[in-house]
Subunit: 276 residues, 2 copies
Amino acid sequence: MNTEPVKVFVPAHVTGFFSIHRAGDPVATGSRGAGITLTDGVTVSVAEAQQTTVLLDGKPVSIDAVDRVVQTFGETARIVVETDVPLGAGFGVSGAIALGTAMGLNAVYQANYTENQLARIAHIADVEAGTGLGDVVAQLRGGVPIRRAAGGPETGTVDAIAARGQVEYLCRGALSTADILAEEPPAINAAGETALDHLLDRPTMPHLMEASRRFGRETELVPDALASIIVDVQASGGEAAMAMLGRTVFALDDGLTAAGYDPEICAVDVAGMRLV
Amino acid sequence: MNTEPVKVFVPAHVTGFFSIHRAGDPVATGSRGAGITLTDGVTVSVAEAQQTTVLLDGKPVSIDAVDRVVQTFGETARIVVETDVPLGAGFGVSGAIALGTAMGLNAVYQANYTENQLARIAHIADVEAGTGLGDVVAQLRGGVPIRRAAGGPETGTVDAIAARGQVEYLCRGALSTADILAEEPPAINAAGETALDHLLDRPTMPHLMEASRRFGRETELVPDALASIIVDVQASGGEAAMAMLGRTVFALDDGLTAAGYDPEICAVDVAGMRLV
């Protein structure tokens, strides 16, 4: 038995805005929108084992999207996840762990999938679990992904804003993506499409933040407690928005620090998913 | 005037095999094939200037693909390139400098192109200069790119082998890509398509090297001096092939060192083009 674990890093992904595109096939289902991948993320270690266990920061957990990836491979493994960012707070953690697990299982069991095929497996798992619609393809790419066409790697088209820099964030708790996505507020799609058009007219970091704030206002998805933090950052001359969907504010450069908050500090991730 | 230069790193890209696909539109023209991007590459610094100059390792040069990128922007700039790998030796240096220049000009002049749009500009420039057909899209992605469909970011489809590791290489001089591509030996396309089918059956690093060697034999593009180095590496249990198109042998892990050579040592690049 190959007991040496394979380690994979997958960046967190904060979504600024999105629109939902459902199709009969889960691989063609997904979202259009834009966000930022972060140097903070998850590290997934995968090793052969007689039965499958998933540990998140030392505690046994059951994450639907991850279970689905393991079932697709038809193997058993010990999956140990360390995360820099909380689950359920708008960082695409379920997609990140699903993608890291797929990459790890592929290496451990020499399954010979390509990177796009691994992203396909993780994307389908995240969609079917109801926990994400576009994080996986963004996390494969890294940088500041713009999802121009929805879906997994075959149907999805990912572009990116050509910029890098520091990112700060502040978490105020969790929201259930699955509940909100199941409800599918009608304003989301109209606001998401408008935001994407706006960003593509001028694909820069400040415009990403402006389009994200407008999306938040039009969908009324931003809790008052987060809206006031965003206003504080803007009042200090910074750029901030809410991570969709979580009780998290993210800001460019030192936006939160300059407004007197004590945020987590990281940067735009440049590489996307990678073996470490 | 903004005199602070913007620095961009673009990985070198060694091609193992390829087939040529010409279309009326240069953006749809390109190649299918596979190769490895390297942690060795080029660093391009771009700064505003009254007239355009290109310095390569301190010496003024004229690189057609780079001149074309500059013309597309309609700006002038001082472009200073430091390279870890030689020009004309099969590392996709012209494409790398073209892509780095596009990214740098975009940042310096706030041209607001996306990453895919910058890769499109560099791809067209490399194709029209006759110096490359698929390096730019590979260098945008990083890792071990498989070009499943030819062309720039709109028409091209890039996947990747899900693997990383050390890479060694040994240069024995230059070949003119433009001359060989213009001549277009008829065996190239048949051998390139066969090699890609072979790799996609089992997309692993050893199969990439095996498919690349077979491509070299079938196209008779491998000079005897390089063929004997490749045989030496294989005799020591390693995996090596020729970089298409240059007088360069590349090997996985410590393949060249183990065979008694004194190669350059680097690794698979994980990030693709990036601001530094």
